[in-house]
């Protein structure tokens, strides 16, 4: 079985043909085409390593009315992803080997994208005692990332223990940084907009203080820390400081925090409700700069499907979160490539290489080179498309980009040489 990607531009650079045989890249450049090869006419489109999402909510088990591993895998493949990490806040919670193995197996059965379950740090996400991290790490699912995402491991002693314990397992603790005592009843970024519109505020310091604390703990424990969905410029400053003093910390930013701001609060439409909340335009600008600089390592979607009834209501009753898998590349193209902050090599770094390293996936985020696994994404950088929630592959439709025209279209995704998505359809 062979596939030829004809006239692609790897990393947006020189045009080359890329031959894939049995899931591996076997030739680049001038290629002898096997007679039976399937041909993808790339016509100068940009070829990138398949994207890796460190932060996805697939809602299975528990909320299959909003997303399943099936529908979420399709959304991921269409968005250019070859691997996703599925967060642990399912029902039941992924805090034991049975659940994480189920998620892993369902992902393999669907076969569109490698679904790596994230294990809970604490039992039931309750923040009281450690879940069986070792058992999950050594299960069939080989859990590499642990997080109580949605909730913060707020107890400093418990966080210290989690970080220390993780060092023996070669796994990473991914923290949802939110000091819960500072966000009681919080609904939106505490700033000018919230003051005027009467939203109880979610102060930037509630994130920054936890990130600072965790960086100090991680350095002390000689552990690896990953910071989920950085949303404030202050957090970027803390990360820069922590990295300079040798802390083994990585961080992600979501596409929505790169593009959207608290100006959106004026409508009170909960499609814009997310945790951490949309911040100011100054924050968004500084997050873009921090991503370009490498202070923030990567982009992660925090893809969070929600049912209509959980969004089409008054703001305070709505669930936080928004869809992201199929729009991430376009938002990165809009905010980072069009602005000149990143070239396509940079996009490969923040959407594939760094997340694969952080999630410890040896077969993803690899160079486009002979002998490497063919996990690849082809992007038409010049094409534009209009986002329609109803047309996205997710069961839920809660996209904040409804009706927006965005640059960058994923035209093909390959997982170990197999075409999983092509021209906007699951292959």
């Amino acid at each position: 079985m062979s596939t030829l990607i004809k006239s692609a531009r790897p990393y947006g650079e020189d045009v080359a043909d890329v031959l894939i045989e049995d899931g591996v890249i076997t030739a680049i450049g001038a290629v002898d085409v096997p007679a039976d090869a399937e041909i993808i006419e790339a016509d100068g489109q940009v070829l990138l390593p398949g994207f890796v999402d460190l932060h996805t909510h697939l809602r299975e088990p528990g909320r299959e009315d909003t997303e399943t591993i099936d529908s979420g895998s399709a959304a991921a493949a269409l968005g250019g992803y070859t691997a996703v990490f599925a967060m642990a806040n399912t029902d039941p919670v992924a805090d034991n080997a049975v659940i994480v193995e189920h998620v892993w197996r369902r992902g393999q059965e669907v076969g569109l994208v490698d679904v790596h379950p994230v294990g809970a740090v604490t039992v039931g996400l309750k923040g009281e005692r450690l879940a069986e991290l070792g058992t999950m790490a050594k299960s069939q699912a080989q859990v590499k990332v642990f997080s109580d995402d949605g909730l913060c491991v707020a107890d400093p002693l418990l966080m210290r223990r989690a970080l220390e314990y993780s060092t023996a397992l070669d796994v990473v603790i991914a923290q949802h940084a939110e000091e819960p005592r500072l966000t009681v009843g919080a609904q939106a970024h505490e700033g000018e907009q919230a003051a005027r519109l009467g939203y109880p505020g979610w102060p930037a310091a509630a994130e920054e203080s936890i990130v600072a604390r965790d960086c100090l703990l991680a350095l002390h424990a000689k552990a690896r820390l990953h910071v989920c969905h950085v949303s404030t410029s202050g957090t970027a400053d803390v990360l820069r400081w922590a990295k300079e003093r040798g802390t083994n910390v990585s961080a992600e930013v979501t596409p929505h925090h790169l593009l959207l701001t608290d100006e959106r609060l004026a409508t009170y439409d909960p499609v814009n409700k997310v945790n951490p909340p949309l911040r100011t335009s100054s924050d968004a600008e500084k997050l873009r700069a921090a991503l370009a600089e490498g202070v923030i390592d990567c982009v992660a979607t925090d893809h969070a499907p929600h049912a209509v009834q959980d969004k089409d209501c008054e703001w305070s009753a709505a669930r936080p979160g928004m869809l992201g898998l199929q729009t991430a590349l376009s938002i990165v193209a809009e905010t980072m490539v069009r602005t000149g902050l990143l070239d396509w090599r940079g996009v490969a770094r923040v959407m594939s290489e760094r997340p694969a390293e952080i999630g410890n996936l040896p077969d993803h985020g690899r160079p486009i080179a002979v002998g490497e696994p063919a996990n690849l994404t082809l992007v038409d950088p010049d094409a534009e498309w209009t986002v329609r929630g109803a047309e996205l592959a997710s069961i839920a439709a809660n996209t904040p980009y409804e009706g927006m025209r965005l640059p960058g279209v994923v035209t093909a995704t390959l997982l170990r040489g197999r075409i999983t998505a092509r021209d906007g359809k699951i292959a």
Binding site: R181, V184, G185, Q187, E190, G191, E192, Q193, A194, A195, R196, L197, G198, Y199, P200, G201, P203, T267, Y268, D269, Q309, D312, C313, E314, W315, S316, A317
Partner: protein, 315 residues
């Protein structure tokens, strides 16, 4: 006017027109034995209250009845968070049942605006009777009506709003309305009871009530909820004690003496006598607190008139 959702962004000319209508209605009804106008005969007004309220609900009900509207009161004890019908379905039900106007009070900021979106197709007018910590526009209008009556005009008048601004929808509505009508607003409160970003509102801020009082034309005391005090539960402790609050920010008889002779004392009610306002101050000639309630009915009649009966109204 299609809806009345907020005073933020409300055209001052329209606000003035509502206040003028309220004045006219007040004078028309003055001394009449039968206080009933036929203006809204055959129109249906529904009050939909998700929070306890006596004065606001009664005031709207009387306003509707004096205009001959059919007024239906709905109290919903729970929001859609916990149980029962969603706000959207309730709204659509009331519109389908024939409501020309829904007057809503809800604990969620923005609830009235959301309702107006859901009811856009039905053409039902929405009045915000208090949404979370956002706005309470008819309270601000009745405060403005009372101040106009006492002071003649709001232009260049200096008005202090004192107390729990952070949690007060009355304060937010007054800040925007009074400043758009030409008044200067000064907020006097401990820093913990001011919203972060307060400097971006059209106000000045002070923590010294004694220093502000001699220069103001009116002082509006906000209610201080006991649960905001130390020991009021997790995340509270906005100030150390009722005693310390009262000493620093309460309107005592002594402080009444610092006010200029013509100055007016307002309170949106319900009052905590002895806490934010001394009994003798509430009952003094400077106090316009019962006038506020009286004017509330006329102002709400005027709002219903502009929404349902005047040219450019929703229907």
């Amino acid at each position: 006017m299609k809806h009345l959702l907020a005073t933020d962004g409300l055209d001052p000319a329209l606000a003035t027109a509502v206040l003028d209508t309220a004045d006219e209605l007040k004078h028309t009804l003055l001394g009449r034995e039968v206080r009933k106008l036929p203006t809204l005969r055959g129109r249906t007004v529904i009050t939909l209250f998700y929070e306890n309220s006596t004065r606001t609900r009664v005031s709207f009900e009387i306003a509707g009845k004096w205009m001959s509207a059919d007024v239906v009161n709905v109290s919903a004890s729970s929001s859609s968070v916990n149980k029962g019908e969603s706000l959207r379905d309730t709204a659509l039900t009331l519109a389908a049942a024939g409501a020309d106007c829904v007057i809503i009070r809800h604990p969620a900021s923005g609830a009235a605006q959301r309702l107006s979106g859901w009811l856009a197709d039905a053409g039902t007018a929405v009045v915000n009777a208090g949404d979370g910590t956002h706005e309470h526009p008819t309270q601000a209008l009745l405060d403005a009506a009372t101040l106009r009556e006492r002071l003649g005009s709001l232009k260049d008048r200096r008005i202090a709003i004192v107390g729990d601004v952070l949690h007060s929808r009355v304060a937010r509505s007054n800040i925007h309305l009074l400043s758009s009508l030409g008044a200067e607003v000064v907020l006097v409160a401990p820093p913990t009871l001011l919203p972060y970003g307060v400097e971006t509102l059209p106000v000045t801020v002070s923590h010294d009530l004694d220093a502000e009082l001699p220069a103001v034309d009116a002082v509006m005391m906000l209610r201080v909820q006991a649960e905001r005090m130390a020991g009021g539960g997790p995340g509270q402790s906005f100030f150390p004690s009722a005693r310390e609050y009262s000493i620093a920010y309460g309107l005592s008889e002594k402080r009444l003496g610092l006010l200029p002779e013509h100055a007016v004392v307002l309170h949106p009610g319900p009052m905590l006598r002895g806490m934010e306002i001394a009994s003798a101050v509430a009952d003094s000639p400077a106090s316009a607190i019962t006038e506020q309630v009286r004017n509330g009915v006329h102002v709400r009649m005027a709002v219903l008139y502009h929404l349902l009966a005047s040219e450019g109204a929703a229907a």
